[in-house]
Structure formats: structure tokens, C-alpha cells
Amino acid sequence: MIMNLHKSEDVLAGIPRLRRNLALVMALGAITASIGAFVAPERAWPNILLASFYLLSLGLAGVLFIALQYVSNAGWSVAIRRAPEALAGILPIASLLMVITLLGIPSLYEWSHADAVSGNHLLQAKAGWLNVPFFVIRTILYLSVWFVFAFYLRKFSRQQDATGDVSLTRKNKKLSGGFLVVIALTFTLASMDWIMSLEPEWYSTIFGMYNLSGMLLNGLAAIAVVVIILRRTGPLRTVVTDSHLHDLGKLIFAFSTFWMYIWFSQYILIWYANIPEEVVYFVNREKGSWTIFAGLNVVFNWLIPFVVLLSQWSKKNEGLLLKVCVIIMIGHWIDLYWMILPPFLKTGPEVSLWEIGPFAGMIALFFLGTFKAFAQANPVPLKDPLLVESIHHHS
């Protein structure tokens, strides 16, 4: 069983044409974003923010998945753990993108302009938190804390491949517990800083939870996509069974419904109370053709996954699960677009070069980076004490 589970080549190295095309899309995306930042800053920066946040969420979801598995002492996922570890490996480049996004603060955030603040009592009251230096410090703080956790979780996991030391599992369990507390606090604050403060007069206390649920849902979908590709191209062919897919499918199904639950929880309180300063958020997002995005958001992130993944056989069906996961990953883009862009495009969504460029480039970067990170370690944690349980897992 364990024979060909040792260090593998980058799966993309076996498909040079795909790798070249991905690199091309990435380069074109980067060029589009750079030109856009000067030619049409009001259009390009929100989309650069979206792409950076999306990529960062994928990396974080990888760490979060690993942490959840360690904390719950889960055995089933050990054989596929190198996939989320590879996702966690894109955190550095995603953090770099987020730092670059900071250059767009003047185009993105109303509160960064002194003249806008001086005439606005609410913004003055919030200036202690929403000011450029503190904003930059917080961003760097979030990114560094996440990186440290991701770095050590991956490091200990790989170290175990060589030593087989069980105490490394215990170390990772402690780290994971800490990470769960830290991510709940920091990701809440980070999503409020980066996205909610785009409309600095609006607030929603569930906003962090909402973003956390979307991040985890999208991350689970991405992990499933990566696992299925690795199963089809070879490195995990003998390892991943229908039972693993079944469990991934169950998690995706559950978190899709959780996302919907949180979406509605935010909606109904604001809808019921009908207070102008709160309700303006949904009023702006249901205007004109924004309604279409509002509907697609729910259909892509919940309705399709819920209906398709309701039965057991569909969760075990590799091709079907892959399709649903791709739909969720598009759905998460719609979700973020619907959150980020309305303050900039009052009349309705527009899909142009400024939207497609950064997002396509980021997706290409995601696959290039993830598979490169995956190839840096053994395809499965060879000496994890729970590996045997995972390989013989039966859902």
C-alpha cells in the first residue's frame, strides 16, 4: 500500500502545457491588475482586494481544516491532510497580495480621506480605529499571526514523516486549539477592516461569522477539488476512497447550509428592524441588476449544493462532487463581489476586464502555488499515528 507514496513531482510538471497556460493567465491577470490600478483605480482596486481576500481565505481555510481535524482527533482525514497543508502553503504569497492591496487604500476606503472624515460625525467617532497607520499595523499583525500558525503546523507534520515522533501530533493539537481561538477573533476583525469598512457608516455584528462561514465553505470546496485532481493525476490514486469523498461531501453540505443560515440571520435582523443606517446595505444590493447577483449568491452557495449533495451516492460521485465544488468556488466570488463592489458600482454589477483579470490570475496562482506546495512533501503523512485508520476509513 505505502509503496509509491513517497515524494512526488509537481503534478503540473507532468502536464507542461497546462502549467504554461496557468502561468500565462497569472501573468495576464497581474498585468491587468497593475494597469487597472492606474487607469481605472475605482474599478480595479476593489477587484484586487477581492482576489487577495479570496486567495487568503483559501490558504486560511487550509489551516482551519487541519486545526479542526487535530482538535477533534479525527482519523479519516489524515490520508488527505497534505492537500489542506498545500493550501496553507499559499498563505505567504496571499499575504503579499494583501500587503500590495494596501496601496489601494485611498481608492478603496472613504475613511482614509481627511476631508470625508472632517464633515462626518460618525467617521470622526470611528477615526480611532479606522485610520491608515493603525489599519496597516492590524493587517500586518493578522497576516503574521496566521503565517506563524500555518508554518509550524506544516513543519511539525513534515517533521513527523522523518522521525515518526508522536509528540509532534500532540504539539500540533495544542497549536490547533490556539489557532481556532485566534482565527475566530482575527478573521472577524480582518473581515470587518477589509470589507465592512468599505461602507464605514454601516455595521453588522454577525459580519465576521458570515465571512468565516463563507471562507470555510469555499475552502472545503477547494480542498475537495485539489484532492480529486490529485486522485485523478496520480499521487493520491491509491489513497483516496469513496469514503473520504463522502466525508468531504458531508462537510461541504453541512457548511453550505451553515452559510445559508448565517446569511439569513444577518438578513432577517436588518430586514425586521428596518433602521435606515442598517438597511441601506441590502437596499443598495437589491437595486437594479444587483438583484440578480443576490439571487445567484444563494443559488450557487446553497441551493445547488444542498439539492445535489442531499443523497449519499452523489457525495461519493467524484465527477458530481467536483462540479458542485466548482459551482461553490464561483459562488464565493459572487458572494464577495456582492459584498465589496456595490459601493463602487451603484447601478449594477459589471463584468469586464477589471473583474476577470485579477480573479482569473489569482485562481491560476492558486493552482500553481498549491500543487507546488504539495510536491514539497510526501503525498501523505507517512508516519502519522492515525494514517492506517485513515487509509482503511469506512464512512
Partner: protein, 174 residues
Amino acid sequence: MSRRLLVNVFQSDQDILNATKAARENGYTIVDAYTPYAVHGLDKAMGIRPTRIGWICLGLGLLGAAAKLWFQIWTSAFDWPVNVGGKPLTSLPAFVPVTFEVTVLFAGVGTVVAFFLVSRLLPGKRPKVVYEGVTNDKFVLVLAEEDASFDVEKVEKLFAPFHMVKMEERVEED
């Protein structure tokens, strides 16, 4: 009508799993298997088709949703219209939480009740333990002796590699 049964007792989950597979491959009729805990893969080995209780769950959930939605619309818009904050009388968002809860209630409780009915686990039912050790450390596979050609010795030979502890013929009276 009565039927003759052959009760086979094993010592481990792996043994009963292999014995069940062998029995099915050789065309014996498997009445049931009794184990102290859930043995993974046993349902497949026995050739049981997937449960249809999920459809009952879905149907009851939809029934709960429809019934509660209708009830809320009827009470708040027709039977006793109340203006809440100037919102339309039939405001669907306001009805969603309760509709959701009742969907879950109908689907959840209904599925449990349906399960008890289907498996005839009604109140007052007396336990029928097929073999004493089955609640502790023994695994029991029951075969039906369908006709005169059923040969106990053949079965004994078939199960020989699986460390059978005991084999017993019984007649079940209805």
C-alpha cells in the same frame, strides 16, 4: 408457518464479515446478522439495499414546511390581519425561521417514528435475543434453511476458516 433457521456464532467482526460474504456468494439466504456494535461493511456483505428512510424524511420535511407556511400566512394575513411595522401582511422573511424549525421538527421526529414503525419497535415489545453473547462479545449470523437440499454440514465446512464458536438449528414459529 414456521421456518427452520441455522444460527452461527462467531468471535470477531472480521470473521462474521467474511462468513457473511461466503454465505452470500454460495447462495444462502441470510435472515439477519446480530453484532454487539456496528460492523462496517456488513450491510454490503449481507446484500441489504440502501434504506429508503431518507425519502420519508424528505417528504415529512416538505410537509412540515408547507403546513407551517400555510398556517402562518393564514393566521397573519387572513384570519386575524395584524400590521407589523408597516410591512406587507404576507412577509415571507418573517415566516422563514418558524417554517425552518417546523421542517426540522417534522423531518427529525417523523424519521425516528417511521424507523420504529418500520422495524416494529413498538412500546411493550419484548426483546428477543438470538444468542446471549451477542450483547457482549459474540457475532451471530442467521441463515434460513430454505428447502430439503439445505445441508448443515456443507455450511459447517464453508464456515470452517472463520473460527465458528457454535452452530445451532432452530425452528421459528410465527
